[in-house]
């Protein structure tokens, strides 16, 4: 067993009646909480989590939290890679400094809706409304043991819907698999690779055919050709037409 310490903090008499319990996390494995929501884990726990979440994500595709956990526990090589790519790029570097978040509270939905058709902002809002999704449902990271890498994976999750918009793919199983292929090539995250490989298992043969002959080759070509999707400061490009942004990044037009 590992040594366990309990952090005793004086709480009497200062009137705080328990809202700040998040600050008082137990010491585990000698690590402290690096960011809100962080749960420090040992290598054994990470391995078990990776295996367990992979199985659970396959058994129950509605467990999005398991996909998220899988991404976090297996991303130890890919995430630093992505972070370094961002650091080397001027726009990516700015994103790492400013740490923008894509959330309903930070987006001006009315303004975006009012933008002309074909612009990133307008199409993004259209995508959210058509598929009835919200950027607020993304899981915050828990098992990433580096505060900056935690932001990188958070950014990746929040940018996912924009990927759908740029690739023109809906949120059904087929669309998600295509986006996963693109992301797998772009990020190298094992979770994307696994999702891309195992996602098609639940598709019909007809869809599989379309997937294999048209969509996946296009996704791979685009993924290879495109610059790093995390290096784009999307929040400053709402007025840019989607076509122009696609060209700039290097995504080929969808089939």
């Amino acid at each position: 067993g590992t040594a366990r310490l309990s952090r005793a903090e004086p709480r009497a008499g200062d009137g705080r009646s328990g809202e700040e319990e998040e600050e008082e996390e137990e010491v585990e494995e000698g690590c402290y909480q690096l960011y809100p929501g962080h749960i420090p884990t040992s290598p054994l726990q990470k391995a078990l989590l990776a295996a367990g979440s992979a199985v659970m994500a396959l058994c129950d595709p509605y467990r999005h939290d398991m996909v998220a956990v899988l991404g976090e526990t297996t991303g130890c090589l890919a995430l630093p890679n992505l972070r370094d790519k961002m650091k080397r790029h001027p726009e990516g570097y700015r994103i790492l400094q400013e740490r923008p978040r894509i959330r309903l509270s930070t987006l001006d939905m009315d303004r975006l809706r009012g933008l002309p058709d074909g612009t990133l902002g307008r199409e993004y809002v259209r995508f959210l409304e058509d598929n009835k999704v919200s950027p607020d449902t993304r899981m915050p990271p828990k098992f990433v043991d580096d505060e900056e890498l935690a932001y990188v994976i958070q950014r990746y999750r929040e940018v996912h819907d924009l990927m759908h918009t740029l690739l023109g793919m809906p949120t059904n199983m087929l669309g998600e698999v295509v986006v996963k292929w693109f992301e797998a090539v772009q990020t190298g995250l094992p979770m994307c690779v696994l999702g891309a490989a195992f996602g098609p298992v639940r598709l019909s043969t007809r869809k599989l055919q379309v997937l294999a002959t048209e969509l996946v080759p296009w996704a791979i070509r685009s993924g290879r050709n495109a610059s790093c999707i995390l290096n784009v400061y999307y929040e400053q490009r709402w007025e840019q037409p989607v076509e122009s942004l696609r060209e700039e990044i290097g995504i080929f037009p969808p089939p």
């Binding site: 067993g1 310490l5 005793a8 008499g13 009646s17 328990g18 979440s53 828990k142």
Partner: protein
């Protein structure tokens, strides 16, 4: 002396006011310091955190129990009810009984005891007419439990909800009641129950001494107290393996199966915080119980403590 009195009274009132102020500020933070797993919190915070833990785990409680203990918890609960050996007509109070595991086992046990009683009775009635035998069937069917009753008491609404759904699903209705209540302050009269059980619940009570006192109060003279709870493992090799499993595997299981790491982290920490067998035995004796004893299961991973109110 009379002259001094009002001055004293004034001082006392001021001092008292100051103390009351401190007390109320403390009262805001509510009460003495205690533990929540390995954290230090106030009593009110602890109660609230534990309530939220069980609110969150209620739906997956049974699945998690099976996964964490590989189904062995069922055997532990069976042993508890066998040790109780209830006869038909027993009135059981199952505290922190949430999802009903002990209650259902009690009903099954009493039913099977009753059936055997009826069978024995019939064997002795060899020269009754068929009419009379049929009549005795009817009469005994209506009393399949023989007036035994179990009251399931839990502080958590979600757990009770899950328990009631389970009862409906499994077909338990007679002799079963569900009551929302706090083990530290039971909503029952004195000297009411024949047996009081608390399975894997007393660990989560903030003032164990109060719960034991309440248990003593609501039991009839001659009544029995039975507690099934995680305890301390004395064997050092097993203890190390147990620690490894508890701290490395169980929170992972909680995250993967229930999407809730923290509740299961709390669970394994709370087990370590619970007093060992002998100390708990002393606490039970302090509450007034006699012939207090305990039985280790699985080398102390779990222990059943028993005591009588005389």
């Amino acid at each position: 002396a009379v002259g001094l009195c009002p001055y004293r009274a004034l001082l006392a009132r001021r001092g008292g006011a100051l103390r009351a102020l401190c007390g109320s500020v403390r009262g805001l933070a509510a009460g003495a310091e205690t533990h929540f797993g390995f954290q230090t919190v106030t009593e009110a915070e602890r109660r609230e955190k534990i309530y939220r833990v069980f609110e969150s785990v209620a739906k997956k409680y049974d699945v998690m129990n099976d996964s964490m203990t590989l189904g062995i918890h069922r055997v532990w609960k069976d042993i508890l009810v066998h040790k109780m050996n209830p006869t038909p007509g027993t009135l059981l109070l199952d505290v922190a009984g949430g999802t009903g595991d002990i209650a259902f086992r009690f009903i099954n046990y009493v039913r099977s005891v009753r059936e055997r009683q009826l069978q024995r009775k019939l064997r002795h009635h060899q020269n009754l007419s068929w009419q009379e035998i049929a009549e005795s069937y009817e009469e005994d069917k209506s009393k399949s439990l023989g007036d035994s009753q179990v009251v399931v008491c839990d502080i958590n609404k979600e757990m009770l909800k899950v328990g009631k759904q389970k009862a409906q699903h499994l077909g338990y209705s007679k002799g079963l009641s569900w009551v929302l209540g706090n083990a530290e302050e039971l909503p029952f009269d004195d000297d009411k129950f024949d047996v009081y059980t608390i399975a894997f619940g007393i660990r989560n009570v903030t003032r164990i001494d109060l719960a034991l006192q309440e248990a003593y109060r609501v039991l009839k003279p001659g009544g029995r107290f039975l507690c099934l709870e995680f305890s301390q493992v004395s064997n050092s090799l097993l203890s190390r393996l147990y620690d490894l499993y508890s701290f490395q595997v169980i929170p992972v299981l909680g995250e993967v199966i229930a999407g809730d790491w923290k509740s299961y982290q709390y669970l394994v920490e709370s087990i370590r915080r619970f007093p060992p067998q002998e100390e708990f035995k002393a606490m039970i004796e302090d509450a007034g119980f006699f012939k207090v004893d305990y039985q280790n299961l699985n080398l102390g991973i779990v222990a059943i403590h028993s005591g009588f109110k005389l």
